[in-house]
């Protein structure tokens, strides 16, 4: 067994590496784990303190307390919840549709030469076009409703995930496939019982990258055309010079992104315990 799925995906997709390193360190050197946690907590407080100091310098930056109050205000009026629900719905719809299509397409590309030949040029081409660059086109073609936003998110998630699924299938060790053949397995069995499990780590990394791009794309899509959502709220706040609301938006987006990534990471380490980690 071979390639580190994360390294392979990163090198081909050119996206930032999903954070896998720190967790690996935590599990392998248990003794350092508590001190790491302490450092993590310390750095959060340090950051908050720094932010607070900066807000005192008159740089127009709202203090953490002001942001907290703005957040409570937005939450109390129900606006925050509406925005979160609107954005999350878009992200999850786009992400689920995108990965649901990416996984079979990636398998097809990895398994059948003809599918690879037909599909790879398109995937590679659209991968070089930032999904945001599709927004104007999507709006012209689909109007300003939910469709263009979900479509763009779908595209972002699909393109991130399809490549790593494809990579996962391609890197499946020939020897394992041969071993299965010698044990009497035919194509269908090999696919279900060797190719799918062997490429699971790659698919999961792809899903994490896909979720990251979906989340990044939703905000941008809402900045351009929306009636609600976190991106829209920040756009409105910008018009009214409402800095605390912008900060609330940034924090909520960051926190949700983090939580979703951690959830997928947890699923990933559950499903890939069998991997030899170096």
């Amino acid at each position: 067994m071979s390639a580190d799925p994360q390294a392979a995906v990163v090198s081909t997709a050119g996206t930032a590496p999903p954070e896998g390193g720190p967790t690996a360190a935590v599990t392998s050197t248990k003794r350092r784990a508590p001190s790491l946690l302490v450092l993590n907590i310390a750095t959060i407080f340090l950051g908050l303190g720094l932010w607070w100091l900066i807000s005192l310098t008159g740089l127009q930056i709202p203090s953490p307390v002001e942001v907290l109050l703005a957040g409570i205000d937005l939450a109390a009026s129900g606006i925050l919840l509406t925005d979160i629900v609107a954005s999350l719905t878009r992200v999850l719809t786009g992400f689920l549709l995108g990965t649901a299509l990416a996984i079979p397409v990636g398998f097809l590309m990895g398994w059948y030469g003809w599918a690879r030949g037909l599909l790879e040029p398109w995937v590679q081409f659209f991968r070089t076009v930032p999904p945001l660059a599709i927004i104007p086109l999507a709006i012209v073609l689909m109007g300003i409703g939910e469709q263009p936003k979900i479509f763009v998110i779908f595209l972002a998630a699909f393109l991130s995930c399809v490549i790593s699924t494809f990579q996962g299938v391609v890197q499946v060790d020939r020897t394992l496939i041969n071993a299965a053949r010698v044990l009497g397995a035919k194509d269908g069995t090999i696919f279900a019982r060797v190719v799918v499990p062997a490429s699971t780590p790659f698919i999961l990394v792809g899903m994490r990258v896909g979720l990251g791009s979906a989340w990044a794309t939703v905000v941008a899509a809402e900045l351009i055309a929306a009636q609600q959502g976190l991106g829209y709220r920040m756009q409105q706040a910008q018009i009214y010079y409402d800095l605390p609301t912008i900060f609330v938006g940034i924090l909520v987006i960051g926190l949700f992104g983090l939580v979703m990534d951690r959830v997928l990471l947890a699923i990933e380490s559950k499903l890939t315990v069998w991997q030899e980690r170096r």
């Binding site: 071993a179 010698v182 397995a185 069998w274 030899e276």
Partner: protein, 262 residues
């Protein structure tokens, strides 16, 4: 072909390799990996194949196993030409080739499951072979927690579980340390003495080749061909006494000379 082999009847000839050649296209040029190899292996025989790296040992093994096709010639097993892999011919690979997401037991059961063997029988068979290779305490462990020797024993159990009539082994102990290697050799011989299953065993370790085999096939490279076949007339069980005997040393030296001074 030497006279002794000609006396074999057709049914005795488990494996017949008939003038096999294998060519590869490398950068537009034809490379002759095997240039006319013929070999008969009798039922119940333990044949080892040695030769310098690149002489086509793995190529020959893959053709016998049905994982690869010869350019010309044919491999015949039990009177039938080999077309594609079959559970009848178990293969043990140097890199173990265990499914890392399956436990030892699930690995051993893989082929049985493919053959739709009922669950309870599957479990019994798997358990038997897991015990045979001494992995009972690790039946529910994942391969990543096993040492190299244990992984290879699991692979051996997995192959045996299919009850193949032939075992093809491609440098199965090549990645092991000297001590584990000797243990595995002894263990393999013990099993073989009981069931006398036909084994073709590839190695580049001359000692291993001599210690295990009835016959040692020495190959030469460029093109890959059979250089010599050396009979090993030493009794089984091959104990440590055999390993240290002057007869063994003589045969071993003979093989060594054939391999390294071709």
């Amino acid at each position: 072909m030497n006279p002794a082999e000609q006396t074999l009847t057709a049914t005795d000839r488990k494996i017949q390799v008939r003038d096999i050649t294998k060519h590869y296209e490398v950068g537009g040029k034809r490379f002759e990996a095997l240039g006319g190899v013929s070999l008969d292996v009798a039922e119940n025989e333990f044949v080892t194949v040695v030769g310098p790296s690149g002489c086509g040992k793995s190529t020959l093994m893959n053709i016998l196993g049905g994982l690869d096709e010869p350019t010309s010639g044919s491999a015949v097993v039990d009177g039938k030409e080999v077309r594609g892999p079959s559970p009848e011919r178990g293969i043990i690979f140097q890199q173990y080739a265990l499914f890392p997401w399956l436990t030892v037991r699930q690995n051993v059961e893989f082929g049985l499951k493919t053959a739709r063997v009922p669950a309870d029988e599957r479990r019994r068979t798997a358990q038997h072979f897991i015990e045979m290779v001494g992995l009972a305490d690790f039946a529910d462990s994942l391969p990543k927690t096993l040492s190299g020797g244990m992984k290879q024993r699991c692979a051996i159990a997995r192959a045996y579980a299919m009850n193949p009539s032939i075992l093809l082994m491609d440098e199965p102990f090549g990645a092991l340390d000297a001590l584990s290697r000797v243990r595995m050799q002894e263990h393999l011989l013990e099993t073989w003495e009981q069931d006398r299953r036909t084994i073709v065993f590839i190695t580049h370790d001359v000692d291993e080749a001599a210690f295990l085999a009835n016959r040692v096939v020495v190959m030469a490279a460029r093109p890959g061909r059979i250089h010599r076949i050396i009979d090993v007339d030493l009794p089984y069980p091959r104990t440590e006494d055999v390993r240290l005997s002057p007869e063994f040393t003589a045969i071993r030296n003979d093989i060594w000379t054939s391999v390294y001074h071709q």
